[in-house]
């Protein structure tokens, strides 16, 4: 027994002139049902976020609702003026946003921001509002609600802030909840908790939920119905079961295929190969503050970290934020100095050399960075970006350029990219350029620091394939750092799991996934969204 809460029919949202397409959302129709979760899935630029904003009347001024209707409670929401919206927002339809840090006013206490919900609609006395705020925080599982109520946003963790946002959204018991990628910015374990929270609350209050996401794993976990968007159009919709197991549209099929599975392919062991990298006892503590009258704060990012990488293998370094994996990457590259420990590349101890010797040895270990938009100097042409390194090591400019041509072809880019600037390329293409730059010096090892995390899932799959291909062809070894276990499963031979600065488990991929030993590893694995074993009551 379910009633339709919201009906969206033929919605067309027009973008201003000069945008890369005419409509953000082009003729989209779907329903939200009370007591059910609808997942709107799409890659970046699909228009899914615009749909969410249209439902709240929060479209940017430049975007106009040209046609269609959004029916809620007998009204077409598109015809509402600002006063009409004031009564609805927060009270009948509420929204949770993606970035909990920026979505909360940094100067107001959490309790006050929740109490504002009541104040906006003239409900309850100030004292009652405060009490309700505490009980709401308790309901969403924030520890010590009486104290949390008086906290400022920066004093809470990401997951706690998101819980507070959810408490705010639910305060007035709305009929509809719009969640715009609420867990994308969270750690995988926190994400699992928040997803469960949303599911439980939705069920107990019989809300209709519209959940925007790009992650099919999340869809598998919580969706009752699914809508797939591409370039502003609905390419497929149906019950979760139908869309996930029997996708009709080629785009849906391609998206589902691109999602990395948690089953690692079988790989030969490389432990008999020579060691390419030997890391022993790395330690690094970050100290901030200090001086008179001030306590120093120290964070230990790496504690006695040791591992080896053998010729031809990909070692994965997996962990959540704060685990120290990025610090290890930087320590291995000697971008930061370790407090203790050594990094050996074959015979050379990278931590003991400096100056010119260090610069010369650097070509043996190269890095692919995370952010495709920050890893290329916007003022240098792509050709120069790739040839700068080799020329610095003494290669003739003409030879370097020829090599750059070759490399661009290897990573699947046209040679005329040499004369163009980074801003003319897409995220995935920029990552390829970054890979070409790393390969230009003929390194023995490649360190990929979350190299695919910022990419759409279909592009991600392409880049991962490229890395695998290059690795085999050029005989590279790789240190692959990621927070996403699914990606690690696809590409790594062995995986090291990090928690709070130490490696808690280091095993071959298949063994790690099928029989994890350390409790944290088990926790991580259980939290990965999209596993068929997770329950999802209809």
């Amino acid at each position: 027994m379910s009633d339709t809460a919201v009906t969206i029919k033929d919605l067309k949202l027009a973008l201003p002139a000069g945008s890369d397409r005419a409509y953000a959302v082009d003729g989209v129709s779907f329903d939200l049902t009370a007591g059910k979760i609808l997942c709107v899935v799409g890659e970046s630029g699909s228009g899914k976020s615009m749909c969410a904003h249209a439902l709240m009347g929060l479209l940017p001024d430049a975007v106009i609702a040209e046609a269609g209707e959004i029916m809620f409670g007998g009204q077409n929401l598109l015809t509402l003026n600002e006063d009409g919206w004031l009564g609805l927002r927060g009270r009948r339809i509420a929204m949770v946003f993606q970035e909990p840090m920026t979505a909360l006013n940094p100067l107001m206490r959490i309790g006050d921001q929740i109490a504002e919900m009541f104040e906006a609609h003239g409900l309850l006395t100030p004292k009652e509002r405060r009490l309700k705020a505490v009980s709401l925080l308790r309901e969403v599982g924030l520890p010590d609600p009486e104290r949390s109520v008086r906290a400022y946003p920066h004093q809470l963790s990401g997951g706690q802030r998101q819980r507070a946002m959810i408490a705010m959204a639910l305060a007035l018991e709305p009929a509809v909840l719009v969640a715009d990628e609420p867990t994308t910015a969270l750690d995988v374990t926190t994400q699992a908790q928040i997803l469960k929270l949303i599911r439980d609350l939705q069920r107990s209050r019989n809300m209709a939920v519209m959940f925007i996401t790009h992650d099919f794993g999340v869809v598998t976990d919580i969706a009752d119905r699914v809508v797939v968007l591409q370039h502003g159009k609905v390419v497929e919709q149906g019950s979760a079961d139908d869309v996930l197991s029997r996708p009709q549209h080629p785009y849906t099929r391609a998206l589902l295929a691109a999602v990395p599975k948690l089953q690692p392919p079988s790989r030969a062991s490389r432990l008999d190969q020579p060691k390419v990298v030997e890391v022993v006892g790395l330690e690094k503590t970050y100290v901030s503050g200090g001086g008179w009258f001030q306590p120093t704060r120290s964070v230990q990012a790496a504690k006695e970290v040791s591992f080896d990488i053998f010729q031809g293998e990909t070692l994965g370094l997996v962990g959540e934020s704060g685990s120290g994996k990025s610090s290890i990457a930087r320590l291995v590259m000697r971008l930061i100095e370790p407090d203790r420990g050594t990094v050996r590349l074959g015979e050379t101890d990278l931590t003991r050399i400096s100056g010119k010797t260090l610069r010369e040895q650097r070509k043996r270990i190269q890095m692919v960075f995370q952010d495709p938009f920050a890893s290329l100097n916007p003022r240098r042409k792509v050709g120069n970006i790739i040839t700068d390194g080799p020329i610095a090591h003494g290669m003739e400019p003409a030879t370097a350029r020829a090599r750059a041509h070759e490399l661009l072809g290897l990573v699947g880019l046209n040679a005329n990219a040499m004369e163009r600037y980074p801003h003319e390329f897409s995220g995935g293409q920029r990552q390829r350029i970054g890979i070409a730059r790393a390969l230009a010096l003929d390194p023995e090892i490649l360190v990929a620091d979350e190299a695919v995390s910022a990419l759409d899932v279909s592009v991600q799959a392409q880049v991962l394939d490229l890395l695998e291909d290059l690795k085999t062809r050029l005989g590279l070894s790789m240190l692959f750092i990621t927070h996403d276990l699914r990606v690690a499963a696809q590409i790594c031979d062995r995986i090291a799991v990090m928690q709070r600065g130490t490696i808690v488990e280091l095993r071959p991929a298949a063994a790690l996934f099928s029989a994890p030993e350390h409790p944290y590893t088990r926790e991580l694995l259980a939290a990965v969204p999209g596993q068929i074993s997770s329950s999802k009551a209809a």
């Binding site: 709240m56 929060l58 600002e82 919206w85 004031l86 009564g87 609805l88 927002r89 927060g90 009270r91 509420a94 929204m95 946003f97 970035e99 920026t102 979505a103 909360l104 006013n105 940094p106 100067l107 107001m108 504002e116 919900m117 104040e119 906006a120 609609h121 400022y152 920066h154 946002m165 705010m168 503050g289 001086g291 008179w292 009258f293 001030q294 306590p295």
Partner: protein, 323 residues
């Protein structure tokens, strides 16, 4: 928090000491005999005074000794003696300091209040004629030299319209008391304070406008709208509060310019403050007095910076009192 204040005062004292040392070297950088420089144009003729100076500051002794004697003097609030005005420098300064504090305090209050007001108005009506008018006026006042505005104000309000008195602190010889006195000082205060105020009004208006437009685009404003809050409440509670933080920082940074503005304005309006004292010292080539005023001006700026810093830290919960 007390530890923080103590730390900042400690730092300020060090900076003041550094300024005093700077003064010491500046005197020696002036051409000629340091004793003549310190005596000023008037005192240079008086041999007895010169001998006293030489003795007091040990001018025939090695440099480190001189430095020590000089600093010792300053620390005991002895800023020297102005031969021309025949008074200790510190007394001269203390006599005139309240007038400057009144002027700069009023100017600051006016500029901040109206600056924020106009900036907010311009931001609320961004793109409209009101906005353009405010922005253009702000640009013009920001570009106008202070001394010229002062003169134009006198030309308009004293010479042409005869509404306001053109110089001084109070009507000379009238000996008003009580409320009449306050009103009299007020009438003399309006033009100088507004003159300084206009420049800073322009600065704060532009900063407030830019800041509000920037904050308006932030995510938490969207959250506030999603709650169904009315626009007026959102502007006041969410946008303005956050937008004012950089304005407070700016106000702190402007302290030095405020003091500089006081020098020019007091000169034009013959306002009896330390700014005008500095001008007199310039005319009389009384370097001792000049440097004495300079030290006090620096102390004022340091005090002002400390206050604004404390205000900023108490308003923004993200910044702790350590650091």
């Amino acid at each position: 928090m007390l530890a923080f204040i103590a730390q900042r005062i400690g730092k300020a004292v060090i900076v003041l000491l550094a300024i005093v040392v700077l003064n010491f070297f500046l005197i020696r950088m002036a051409p000629g005999d340091p004793a003549l420089v310190m005596a000023g144009e008037a005192g240079a003729g008086d041999q007895i005074f010169l001998t006293q100076l030489r003795e007091k500051f040990g001018l025939d002794q090695p440099l480190p000794v001189q430095l020590f004697l000089y600093v010792k003097g300053i620390v005991s609030f002895d800023l020297g003696f102005s031969f021309r005005q025949q008074m200790p420098v510190s007394k001269l300064i203390m006599d005139r300091l309240p007038a400057t504090l009144l002027l700069t305090g009023t100017a600051f209050a006016i500029s901040l209040a109206f600056g924020v007001l106009f900036g907010t108005l311009a931001a609320r009506r961004a793109g409209s004629w009101t906005d353009t008018a405010i922005t253009v006026l702000a640009l013009i006042f920001y570009a106008t030299p202070l001394f010229w505005v002062a003169l134009m104000a006198i030309l308009l309000f004293s010479v042409a319209l005869d509404w306001l008195p053109s110089f001084g602190y109070e009507t000379v010889g009238a000996n008003y008391t009580g409320l009449t006195h306050v009103l009299d000082v007020g009438a003399h205060l309006i033009m100088p304070a507004t003159t300084i105020g206009l420049f800073f009004m322009a600065t704060y208006a532009r900063m407030t406008r830019a800041s509000m437009l920037e904050v308006k685009r932030l995510d938490f404003v969207k959250t506030a709208r999603a709650k169904g809050l009315r626009d007026a409440v959102i502007q006041r509670r969410h946008v303005l509060r956050n937008a004012l933080l950089p304005v407070v920082t700016l106000a702190g940074l402007q302290a030095g310019t405020l003091v500089g503005g006081a020098v020019l304005t007091e000169t034009v309006f013959a306002w009896p403050g330390i700014g005008r004292l500095m001008y007199e010292a310039l005319l009389q080539r009384d370097y001792n007095l000049l440097l004495g005023v300079f030290v006090v001006c620096s102390a004022m700026v340091l005090a002002f910076n400390l206050i604004t810093d404390l205000i900023y830290r108490s308003v923004d919960p993200r910044i702790e009192f350590a650091a």
